[in-house]
Amino acid sequence: MSQETIQVAALESEAIFIFREVVAQFEKPVLLFSGGKDSITLVRLAQKAFYPAKIPFPLMHIDTGHNFPETIEFRDRLVKELGVELIVRNVQDNIDSGRVKEETGRYASRNMLQTETLLDAIEEFGFDACIGGARRDEEKARAKERIFSVRDDFGQWDEKNQRPEVFDMLNGRIDLGQNVRVFPISNWTELDVWSYIEQEEIEIPSIYFAHKRKTFVRDGMIWSADDEVVYRDKEEEVVERMVRFRTVGDMSCTAAVLSDAVDIVKVVEEIRDSSISERGARIDDKRSEAAMEKRKQQGYF
């Protein structure tokens, strides 16, 4: 028996509280797992919320087929360790069946196509709460998202008609056909997540750490040279560079940064001193100022 006193840090305590509300208020929750650091952090928080019981809901990965192989490997190992169910739904299936049309050319990305696959999966399994790792500090439109965010059957976010969230009371009452997107780490910053990963010694995919990679430069950003997935002009020269990724989206829309941060301590230091925001390296947000808001209205995570 320990003699210690525990004071759970405010952000961690809030996130655990939210997880427990989800399980108490919904019939069929699911954790949307991308293999990125935010969803890995969510998994740790969910473990803490229900220990010594197992995480009482499945993880679901919407696989674009453009993921970094390191991410997929990591994902499979993690679910095995946790003993939780993993559901995978593939964007490729919708492309093959002609339900969605793939973009082509220089800035082609499957990012937008995820939405359709996600909505199909929500309907297929009847999920009423989808837990995600979005944070309000990532982007301006996300800064206005609620912790319990109600979506209609089309997954649409009605930003003008959001429920007020007061104190820590979360209203999860919904109509048939509606579902709720839940964001337990809404109030965390990128640095909070990294510090937590360091403090908790959480394992993350290797691409977050500096490594040698074949890359090319376009519009001042560094891209992974994988010709099957990432479009590259002939004159765009492939060079091996020491890089790491700050976010793990698709290879086709996630740029690398030059870095020699080979371990978590160095990554946290680097984030602390960084002068470019996290999503600054995401091409999908740069298409227009209102890019994120538009995607959210259409049901994007």
Binding site: M1, S2, Q3, E4, T5, I6, Q7, V8, A10, L11, E12, S13, E14, I16, F17, R20, E21, V23, A24, Q47, K48, A49, F50, Y51, P52, A53, K54, R136, D137, K140, A141, A143, K144, E159, K160, Q162, R163, P164, E165, V166, F167, D168, M169, N171, R173, I174, D175, S186, N187, T189, L191, D192, S274, S275, I276, S277, G280, E289, A290, E293
Partner: protein
């Protein structure tokens, strides 16, 4: 690191978004790419200065109209502290957003345009800060550069607010008056060179010093049970853990506790957090508690020390802020969510509408409209264990949900 949550309020064009943008800029919290985006947009619009409001106004409609219409959360930190600012709109029709933003705040900034002085909106903002019992309120008198940094103008505003404070019910509020210019940067992070007469701190210095505790030091023990953890594995065959967040006081192994509302008694056997056991857990912590006896505890029940019981009743009186287009009327039924507990509630009486300009009350109104604040009485379908809001914010507040729309329609502060 400690996190301080701050709510902001101001009328249209008081420069609230500009102030937040300025804070982000001066604390070097704007990254290069965000700064470039602001510079480019400012140029496009033909401004010869940086429009910092572009850093926070997130939604397309807002950018088009140049106003803020929903609560946005902004995150930054200095060497000493992390901050979350809830940027809440100042328009009269958006009181609900201000209450929302301020409900989780430990401090608040009320902006006043030095040229206009105290206006009707200021009364309302000040009133809401009082109703929510925000401990630290900064009155930021902005646009001092446009009144020649006049000490006299500043003092007039200070006097009016102090007069308002004298009429308010909540007496322990710390009021701090700071003259500043968000656009030019005077007294925001750096001390102004234009106001020698002001000897106080800059806004950021002041905020860095504030206390960030949510729950009162003297609050009684409150542990509302969110869910019961039953692993049903061989190793934890008989384990029944009560998961929740401590809403007040500290709990210790061996404490004699009562389960509310049934009043069954037991003792705390263990306090768990993840895979570790602890002797004691402090307020604000999400932990799991097990009891010595196999008593009946389920979601919505509350554990308290036996000699620290709250009110347990099937009716209550409260001040309510109405947040829905469909007005509140007596005899209507709603769902009530009190912390993690749910019940049905019937409005037995709408006693009054409270004027947010401190001019008194309107008695026996027929309804309470969107953004109005009033006193009501509720009858409940089951007993709830509650405190007065002034004693415990978490256990003294509730929301009402419209059973037809499922929308959150009001927030209540128990008397």
């Amino acid at each position: 690191m400690k996190v301080l949550k701050i709510a902001t309020a101001g009328s249209v064009d008081d420069g609230k978004s500009t102030l937040i943008g300025r804070i982000l800029y001066d604390t070097k919290s704007l990254t290069d790419d965000k700064l470039e985006a602001i510079e480019e947009k400012s140029r496009q619009r033909g401004f010869d200065y940086l429009d910092f409001s572009l850093a926070t106004d997130g939604l397309v409609a807002e950018r088009e109209q140049g106003i803020t219409i929903d609560v946005a959360h902004i995150y930054f930190s200095t060497r000493k502290k992390s901050f979350i600012i809830a940027d809440t709109p100042g328009h009269i029709e958006y009181t609900r957003n201000m209450v929302t933003g301020a409900s989780t705040a430990q401090a608040s900034i009320v902006l006043i345009d030095a040229r206009n002085g105290v206006v009707e909106q200021t009364y309302r903002h000040f009133f809401i800060n009082n109703l929510l019992r925000i401990k630290d309120v900064v009155i930021a008198v902005n646009k001092m550069d446009l009144v020649d940094f006049s000490e006299e103008k500043f003092n007039v505003i200070k006097g009016e607010i102090e007069y308002l404070a004298s009429k308010s019910e909540y007496k322990n509020q710390n009021l701090t008056f700071i003259p500043l210019s968000a656009l030019k940067g005077d007294n925001v992070v750096d001390k102004s060179e234009n106001m020698d007469w002001y000897q106080g701190e800059t806004l950021m210095h002041h905020l860095e010093r504030l206390d960030s505790d949510d729950i009162n030091d003297d609050s009684q023990t409150r542990f509302p049970v969110q869910t019961v953890i039953r692993p049903k594995t061989e190793e934890y065959h008989d384990y029944r853990g009560y998961a929740g967040k401590i809403y007040g006081g500290d709990f210790e192994v061996g404490d004699e506790v009562a389960v509310l509302p049934s009043l069954t008694k037991s003792k705390i056997k263990s306090i768990n957090f993840f895979d570790k056991e602890f002797q004691k857990a402090k307020r604000g912590s999400s932990v799991t508690i097990t009891l010595e006896d196999n008593v009946n505890v389920s979601r919505g029940d509350m554990l308290v020390k036996v000699d620290e019981q709250p009110t347990i009743a099937k009716q209550l009186e409260a001040t309510i802020c109405w947040m829905d287009k469909e007005p509140l009327q007596a005899l209507q039924k709603y769902y009530i969510k009190h912390g993690v507990n749910d019940a049905q509630a019937k409005i037995t009486q709408l006693n009054s509408i409270i004027k947010t300009d401190f001019s008194g009350i309107e008695e026996n109104p027929s309804e309470l409209e969107l953004n109005q604040i009033g006193d009501i009485q509720l009858k409940l379908s089951k007993p709830l264990a509650f405190d007065a809001y002034k004693d415990n914010k978490s256990n003294g507040s509730f929301i009402l949900v419209n059973p037809k729309t499922n929308n959150t329609v009001g927030v209540g502060f128990i008397k």
